[in-house]
């Protein structure tokens, strides 16, 4: 064990501030979990317990919230977490092909982390970018859209060399036609 996880006074003040924003403390579970994930890098059972105790909420409730969102990591993850969307639109446009390619390339299955701790892959539900399918999200941040195997290769190389993908502005067909 790497010692018990705790919130220091600065954290508690921040959590208090977050909680006060909402009429019910249940509503503050999400922002507090984000805060905890930023601090610890994940929200594993011990962190969930800490959050529940800090907020005086049932641990089961916090656990339920954490498991609902793939954005919350229930265990320590790699440096780069690749959330490949395999929900309806992406699935139809080859989301699973992308996922399988990525799995083969990195030699791990979805839900696993590479031994060097660099990459984790997750198969996730809809990220709200159906228009750019198939797509993936890098570590709860940038979206990489219209995925192809070449794009995956480039992404992995970039990430390995420390380069984060940039923001992609994609036009929808109606924008291109100028009709809107």
């Amino acid at each position: 064990m790497s010692g018990t996880k705790t919130f220091d006074e600065k954290d508690l003040a921040e959590i208090e501030k977050l909680t006060k924003k909402y009429p019910e403390k249940q509503a503050a579970v999400l922002p507090v979990l984000w805060y905890a994930q930023d601090k610890f890098g994940h929200v594993d059972p011990s962190v969930q317990k800490l959050v529940a105790e800090t907020m005086d909420l049932p641990e089961a409730h916090v656990y339920g919230v954490v498991t609902f969102y793939t954005q919350f990591y229930e265990k320590p993850m790699g440096k780069h977490v690749l959330d490949v969307c395999t929900c309806l639109s992406c699935q139809v446009c080859g989301g699973y092909d992308i996922l399988n390619y990525l799995e083969d390339k990195l030699g791990i299955m979805a839900g696993e982390t590479t031994p060097d701790g660099e990459f984790s892959i997750q198969s996730v539900e809809c990220l709200g970018a159906c228009g750019y399918a198939p797509m993936l999200q890098v570590t709860n941040d940038k979206y990489v859209n219209y995925l192809t195997y070449e794009k995956i290769d480039k992404l992995i190389d970039d990430l390995k060399s420390g380069k984060q993908p940039g923001f992609e502005s994609n036009k929808m067909p109606q924008h291109e036609n100028g009709t809107e």
Binding site: P45, A60, H61, Y63, T67, F68, E125
Partner: protein, 580 residues
Amino acid sequence: MPEIFIDHKRYEFEQPGKVLQFMLDNGMDLPFFCYHPSLSIPANCRQCIVKAGMPVFDRDRGTFKLDEKGERIIRFFPKLMTACSLDLADGMVVYTHHTDELVKQAQADNLEFILINHPLDCPICDQAGECPLQILTYKYGPEGSRFEHKKVHKPKAIQLGPRVILDAERCINCTRCVRFTDEISKTHQLTIISRGDKNYPMTANDQVFDDPYSLNTVDICPVGALTSADFRFKARVWEMNQTPGIDISNGKGCSTWVWTRDNLVMRITPRFNEAVNDHWMPDSGRLSYRTFNENRISKPWLRPDNKEQVRTTWNNAELTLREELDKVESSQILVIGSPHASVEDNYTFKKYFESLGVTDFYYLPHVVPGAGDDLLLSDDQAPNTLGVRALGYSEIAGDKLPKIVTSAKPKLVFILDDDILDRSDLTSSHLEDAFTVYWGTNHNGTSLAANLVIPITTAVEHAASYINVDGRIQRTVPAKETLYTNRRLNLEMSMGRLDHYGTKFDNWVTDANRIDCIPAWEFITRLNPGSDTFAWESSRQILAEIGGKLNIFRGVTYEQMDEENGIQLNLEQDSEVNTV
């Protein structure tokens, strides 16, 4: 009075409420899974959808707008509404699946969705036979499945806690169990985890579902997702007889259903009683069913010449008892009643010894401080403490009992069904000089120390009343045959399918489960043949006799107890009791 039209029929309602509950109260049927009258309404199963609308009101004229036929114009809600969460409103029009094709189709489709990932394992599922999903599918569901793909697989047979086992695949995520732990038992131990087609109820990471009321979630689970670790695979619902009873493992006296098969109690579940336990009961009460089956005293036992106890005959027990009674004066008899025995047993017990000239009657309360909670557990572990007190027995603390025995030096001690050696400072050495007669249901330390043991019936073998900690008198109904009772003759006993259609020679029937015991009052009538004072034929008669003597019990009848699920007694009159 406000009115509502359901399927073209007019109903009046007085209290505000929900449409579904109103329909259920009025005997109409509407399929539903997640709704429970004692829990909050999430409306997440979507099965009770109906078409509902309100009449269009003409504000200028102050009347309802009418169409050319002279009927009210109804403006329907744009989508189908869940009846469970729809408030009753004056003039509301509701169409259910009986009259509306759209509703019928929508409900069937919804059911098909619910069934998509539900395993087809009814033949090995414990819930089969009492499963709302099975019943509603049989009634309304599709005959086959159009779903040709692999079903979603989830964890099976997870031990959630010591008493509850989860089969996540069967779960339809109605959240009744989660709401129960949130709203009723307030342990907040359960939640729905994950999302989409993968979700199921679970405890937090390393928590154990050890809620003292955890088995209620098994009752309210509308599918076989939560099953009782104890009852799992023991019996099919249709093999069992269901008899109303009360929980005698606790002072609260929850109303129960006693489920028996071949004269073994298989399980105990709560029976709705608004005044006592609502729909719930504690786990401890359910697991107390074992005391009705195991370690029972069958046939009288006698200890000749202070040696080993041996089984004896009823005649021999009777003769021995008479002999011992002839040897002693009434002042040498010590009588200890029991908060664990019924009102009738305690009354006849006392009446008999009064007739022999005994004046002092004691009982040992069975209170465990701190054992109770605010819900359905009381500190009092005995079902009839107030009853035995009302009958005029004097309470005696466990540490005072040895003093009474040593000072009075009784030659003959009578103990009614209560393990007093276990709960008091009294030891068997205190009773060495006396001839001890134990009238009891189960073998225990006290029965083993006795010279004569008379087997008597338990709460599931006789009709008898008990007064709970709140002064409510409730009664039991025989559920289990003794050697001397018979389902076919005793009209009060329930007859299951096996009893109706089986024969004595079927291989699932055995006489071994019928205990050789009689009610305490019956043994007293046997001790007094030909006597008018002790000539009872039923416990009904005894209660009537008590009612004539004690104010508290005046007018109390089994019929009224049955109709009203027990009667609240006015225990203010307690002071008058001891004059009898």
